[in-house]
Amino acid sequence: MLIDFFYTVKKAGVPVSTKELLLLHEALAAEVAFGSADAFYQLAKLCMVKDEKHFDKFDVAFGHFFHGLEMIEDIESFLIPHDWLSPDWVKNLSEEDKKKIEALGGLDKLMETLKKRLEEQQKRHQGGNKWVGTGGTSPFGNSGYNPEGIRIGGQSQHQRAVKVWEKRQFKNLDDSVEIGTRSIKMALKKLRKFARTGAADELDLDDTIRSTANNAGLLDLKMRPEKHNAAKLLIFFDVGGSMDWHIQLCEELFSAVKTEFKHLEYFYFHNCIYENLWRDNHRRWKENINTWDVIHTYPKDYHVVIVGDAAMSPYEISHPYGSVEHMNEEPGRMWLQRVLETWEQAIWLNPVNEDHWRYTHSTQMIHQLMGGRMFPLTLAGLEAGIKCLSK
């Protein structure tokens, strides 16, 4: 029986090997847990999962194997989860969802509508696209087509007996979802390049010993400069328009990057890089910097990171005068190519969920222009991107 269970867990994406299975058997044989399903759940989790980011996958697999997740039974007893009030979940929405939300009259309106629906609705509902329930395409509900960000879960007022694994309390520890300043910094650390520059103020022990020996035992101190992180970073941020949805994520990335790199330069652009960039978003129309100047100022050894959702009209990339904001003599494509030719190590970070990229034509065009070096702005994506940069 445990063999099937083992493969269910493995299939759910939890990295388990034979060793974990044997360990579980050993623990069972030693009677660490007996009797209840809860105890077995705890023991199995203890033996098979080695990182809290896999807890959620394990919970799902466990639930699937032993019971099948029970669907929400009485919708009335569920409250709107607290995190709806924070903007975190907004970033998980696709373009279409955002449009739908706008069509429904914006976020506040949506919340109102939801509350009303909850009141109107008396029975459990499944399928369809209006009511709150499970498995439908309505913006509200559980496990439907709509993004998990607006999943109705939360805590039951009536204290319905929810099994531990059904609570799925580790849902947001999955690293493809959560990203924070600290974790971004951890990912950025991999881009570190240590070099010794500056004043020689550190004792070089090896060299001291060697030259002391050469000196027939008379002490000859040798100094060397301290190690510094010499990686240089140039960041271009897309601001305004559709990027407003991702502002929190970009802020986090920016604040992490700012403290991690000594040599950091950043510029803003809108939609696509054209002949002008700016440093201060409040004065973008007054204080422009010519993109040529940027290209000529920063040497080839800078790493380039472009952050943007790459969602725009295809003409902005392909045609002159395609920009929505000004008259551009050269198409965005030209400028992007110039940037890529100047700095070979470049990546594009896209805050939009990777699954939605293929629905936007411009995203595909840029993905192609970047030679496939477009990564989602999640921890996993950032790590892959940094790896690509440091090659």
Binding site: S17, A27, V32, Q42, L46, K50, D51, H82, S86, Q169
Partner: protein
């Protein structure tokens, strides 16, 4: 296995944590503990040692710690100095080998609890260097050719704050437990363990405020259990009555002595701003 670990009069262990400790003790494998800062990861080792009546050896890891230091260190510099002074000791290399924490744990006559604290602080290769030592519980001293084998396999508790990811090979050799942030009921038990005669009203009011504060979105560092305990200590010392805490929204009134709960300037500013906005709107 002689005893079961069930928490102590100073430490509340949830059921799954008890199981984790007991599994690690029974199957004699290291137990890796992760969790938010301030949830009592380090304290666990002390309490396990106390509850099982075993001595505790702690090895605190720093960014410069090497795996070898846990086994032994050969002090070549003192030997060199002694050789120049003509000390008799110099002829025996054993005099210059300093035992590390693992060695001490292995050679102890009774089973011990070994705490390897904050393993993620060390270099990324550190856990890999300890694989065989933790698995087989033996190692060789190259200088003397001696093999050190554990007389009693120690109960090894390893804590991590998740600053670095640990290698798979290492993880496979451990039990893993994530200390979840305590829910209200557990928290009540925890506070009761620390302050047995605290007024019930004050406790409820304080917990209410505390959990409400944790809910405020955007805090850089959410207050944790150890902060709550400190805060309650201050509340009791200042003789603050429960009424001061009760019936107020956290966003309208900043809790008294908030310095114990919020350790970050930006968080304090944010709360003040929120309070200001709520007052203005209301």
């Amino acid at each position: 296995m002689s005893q079961q670990f069930t928490g102590s009069d100073r430490y509340v262990a949830t059921e799954d944590l008890q199981m984790a400790v007991n599994a690690a003790a029974t199957l004699q494998r290291p137990l890796l503990i992760k969790g938010e800062p301030g949830t009592g990861k380090t304290m666990l080792a002390e309490e396990v040692a106390a509850a099982m009546d075993m001595p505790l050896l702690s090895w605190h890891i720093k960014s410069t710690t090497k795996a070898q230091q846990g086994l032994y260190e050969y002090d070549a510099v003192s030997r060199l100095r002694d050789s120049q002074l003509g000390d008799e000791k110099v002829h025996d290399i054993k005099n210059y080998i300093r035992k590390g924490m693992l060695w001490q744990a292995f050679e102890s006559d009774q089973q011990v609890v070994l705490l390897i604290d904050e393993i993620d602080k060390a270099d990324i290769e550190f856990p890999n260097d300890l694989l065989v030592e933790l698995d087989r519980m033996l190692f060789t001293v190259y200088e003397t050719g001696q093999t050190i084998e554990a007389k009693h396999r120690p109960i090894i508790i390893i804590t991590s704050n998740n600053e670095k990811e640990l290698p798979d090979a290492f993880l496979r050799r451990c039990f893993f437990h994530y200390i979840n942030f305590p829910d209200k009921e557990t928290m009540k038990q925890i506070v009761a363990v620390h302050y047995p005669d605290l007024q019930k009203q004050l406790l409820n009011a304080a917990l209410e405020t505390f959990f409400e504060l944790r809910e405020v979105s955007g805090l850089r560092k959410k207050p944790s259990t150890s902060e709550l305990i400190d805060w309650i200590k201050l509340l009791v010392a200042d003789d603050i009555s429960p009424e001061v805490l009760q019936g107020k929204n956290i966003k309208e009134a900043i809790p008294p002595l908030y310095g114990a709960l919020l350790k970050n300037e930006q968080d304090v500013h944010m709360l003040q701003k929120l309070a200001f906005m709520m007052r203005r709107d209301g």
